[in-house]
């Protein structure tokens, strides 16, 4: 029934707060994004929208309630890109809008005219080495949690022919990693949080990863030597041609076809309050448990000089007005008698 016997906590000395970072390894295999659920490009776990601005990838056919959103794919280019203007790109305004939306949120504006910054393949944001065309991969918060762990990102892209993008004999898998990034160095900080650079194996920067935002911008230069980045009924297309002539969802299909693997570690920040419940040696050695007595006699004693003993299984944490706010259970009963004094460390995570 009701608890009426409480032990006060010294809220100055018996309570402390701490923060813990929890990391999970997130491996996303390429077969999930292309081929597992249906026939490419009409995979049942890939959702296209009538607005055509991005494509969503799920871990299961998205009409199922069991499906979890993994990431979105889109492409875009800046209005100063060579693809803008006279080439008459398909969905040109939407591709420009997508680029601007990503860059304005993640990089912000600059100059007296408040022009939106452009992505750069370095960490200086000095308008040099700009990446005016990019493929965007926006990860769901479900898998990135609070942020991607720096230095753990890896994406493997097939650069082989359209029919055999991951041809192992031809060395046609390009691996991009944020190898130079760590918790203390190798990243830059902008409006969108910290970002690092994605290097290929020849140490050339091929993209960016924004850790808190859970976002990758992959440069078209990753595929610029290929003539068949994309294949349609009209023939094959280079990546730049794809950016011009294909829709956003068509370009996203082309990328999905070439994703072999994505992996990173996510980070969950756990804030904890730790309560040190100090149980004095001379208290809580008796119990109100009905089985504690037999004919009013304490079962664990034979004579009154025997030591009383009780067993703790539960700690209830209460507010000053006696409301039970949290409950902690011990995995096994803990013996309490007058010869021992216990400090039970209860951690509540938020």
């Amino acid at each position: 029934m009701a608890v009426t016997n409480y032990e006060q906590l010294d809220t100055t000395n018996d309570v402390t707060n701490t923060r813990t970072l929890l990391h999970e390894s997130i491996p996303l295999t390429g077969t999930i994004v292309s081929g597992t659920y249906g026939t490419f490009p009409d995979d049942a776990n890939v959702k296209n929208y009538s607005h055509g601005q991005f494509q969503s990838v799920y871990d299961y056919p998205y009409l199922s309630s069991s499906a979890n959103h993994i990431f979105d794919i889109s492409i875009g280019f800046d209005e100063s890109s060579a693809m803008s203007g006279s080439l008459g790109s398909t969905q040109e305004s939407k591709k420009i809008n997508m680029y601007n939306q990503m860059s304005q949120v993640l990089l912000g504006y600059t100059g007296s005219n408040n022009t939106v910054r452009k992505f750069e393949l370095d960490t200086t944001l000095d308008a040099v080495n700009q990446m005016k065309e990019a493929i965007f991969v926006n990860f769901s918060r479900l898998i990135t949690k609070d942020q991607i762990k720096k230095g753990t990102v890896s994406i493997q892209l097939g650069t082989g022919s359209w029919s055999t993008p991951f041809d192992s004999t031809g060395g046609s898998v390009k691996t991009l990693t944020d190898a130079s990034a760590s918790a203390t160095e190798g990243t830059a900080n902008t409006l969108g949080g910290d970002y690092g650079l994605l290097y290929d194996t020849s140490n050339t920067v091929r993209g960016l990863v924004f850790y808190q935002a859970g976002f990758m911008a992959i440069s078209t230069s990753s595929f610029d030597t290929m003539t068949d980045f994309h294949s349609t009924s009209a023939g094959t297309e280079s990546v730049l041609k794809t950016f011009v002539s294909a829709s956003i969802s068509g370009s996203a299909d082309a990328l999905r076809h070439r994703i072999k693997n994505i992996s990173f570690n996510n980070t969950t920040e756990i804030n904890s309050s730790i309560y040190f419940c100090r149980v004095p040696h001379n208290k809580y050695n008796h119990s109100a448990n009905p089985t504690y007595l037999s004919a009013s006699t304490i079962r664990v004693k034979s004579v009154n000089t025997d030591q009383p003993v009780a067993y703790i299984t539960t700690i209830g944490l209460y507010s000053s007005d006696n409301e039970l706010l949290a409950v902690a259970k011990l995995s096994e009963p803990l013996r309490k008698d007058p010869t021992n004094e216990l400090t039970l460390r209860v951690r509540l995570d938020y």
């Binding site: 009701a2 809580y284 664990v300």
Partner: protein, 339 residues
């Protein structure tokens, strides 16, 4: 309601309760105290006669599996460990309902109804030419508490060391002093938890209501008769949480239980007390039924026939707990009204 893995180190599994989450959302989450519980423990498993010695007495208890933490507050701590600092206690008080015929005959205490083990409380909401009280008293000869607060009937409770007839310590005044009073095991007030959907309040003993000058319930009247004239008054409401949904709490006064083994006369202590040993207190519990109960009988109760009269009933339980000893008793109640 799984068990915790107890194959390795001792771990603590902590969760916020529903109340904790609500208060966190409201911004007034602050933990200031703690309490300890042992609800999973069955102390009958403590084997003081284990052949291998004292290290093995609690072997089975220490192997008791423990459930995961619940988020419902009613599954938090039902009993709890006591902060008593005395280490030389061999006895702790228990609480019992007194339904002895001599007591129900000579006082306003009621007995349970037949073999049902339920205490009957009337709801006069269905009375017309015939009253439920008249049916119970005149026709069915059933004891009852008038749920409208008009009568003086009550359920009588006692606490004490129920060690058994002719067992040590016996029920002398000296033993009461040394085993109960000296160890701080006298409950001056009891907490009464009742279902607020059906019961609007509780009446308990009014101040100075016992017959003798010392304010005691005792058997020191002429010829070792009973001094037990208890009058009733409304209990004080309290914000103590029972953990049970819809339950609210009040506190009632107690008076000294001065029943002892008489040295003269024909009455014995067991004529008046269900505690066989040093006695602590007595208390009276008289529920007041909420006005306007009707649909509740269909939702939570049923129908029955008493002396040919069709009646509706709701069965509920009142929980009573000592403020000091934490001794507890559950009182099963049947609320009865004419259909």
């Amino acid at each position: 309601m799984a068990f915790l893995d107890n194959s390795g180190d001792i771990i603590l599994d902590a969760v916020l309760t529903e109340t904790g989450r609500r208060r966190m959302a409201e911004g007034n989450f602050k933990i200031t105290k703690f309490a300890l519980g042992d609800d999973e423990i069955d102390y009958t498993l403590y084997n003081k006669n284990h052949a291998s010695g004292s290290a093995y007495y609690d072997l089975e208890i220490l192997q008791s599996p423990v459930f995961e933490a619940f988020t419902q507050i009613n599954a938090g701590i039902n009993y709890g460990l006591l902060p008593t600092t005395a280490t030389d206690l061999l006895y702790l008080p228990v609480m019992k309902t007194n339904r002895l015929k001599r007591v129900t005959a000579e006082t306003n205490a009621i007995a349970t109804s037949g073999s049902s083990n339920l205490f009957v409380v009337t709801d006069s909401g269905g009375d017309s030419a015939t009253s439920i009280g008249a049916v119970l008293a005149d026709t069915a000869s059933v004891d009852y508490v008038a749920g409208d607060g008009s009568g003086n009937n009550y359920v009588l409770l006692e606490t004490g060391l129920d060690t058994g007839v002719s067992q040590t310590p016996n029920g002398t005044a000296a033993n009461r002093q040394s085993y109960l009073v000296a160890n701080g095991l006298i409950d001056r007030r009891l907490i009464v938890f009742y279902d607020g959907r059906f019961i609007s309040g509780i009446r308990g003993i009014a101040a100075g209501s016992s017959a003798n000058a010392g304010g005691e319930y005792n058997n020191l009247a002429t010829g070792n008769g009973l001094n037990a004239t208890l009058s009733l008054t409304d209990a004080s409401r309290t914000n103590i949480q029972s953990g049970l949904s819809n339950y609210v709490a009040g506190t009632v006064r107690t008076v000294t239980n001065g029943v002892i083994q008489p040295t003269t006369g024909t009455n014995t202590e067991t004529d008046f007390s269900v505690i066989n040993g040093p006695r602590g207190i007595v208390a009276a519990i008289s529920p007041k039924i909420k006005n306007g109960l009707d649909a509740e009988y269909t939702l939570y109760g049923g129908t029955t026939t008493v002396s040919g009269q069709s009646c509706k009933f709701i069965d509920t339980t009142i929980y009573v707990q000592g403020t000091v000893s934490s001794a507890q008793v559950q009182i099963p109640i049947r609320i009865l009204r004419l259909s």
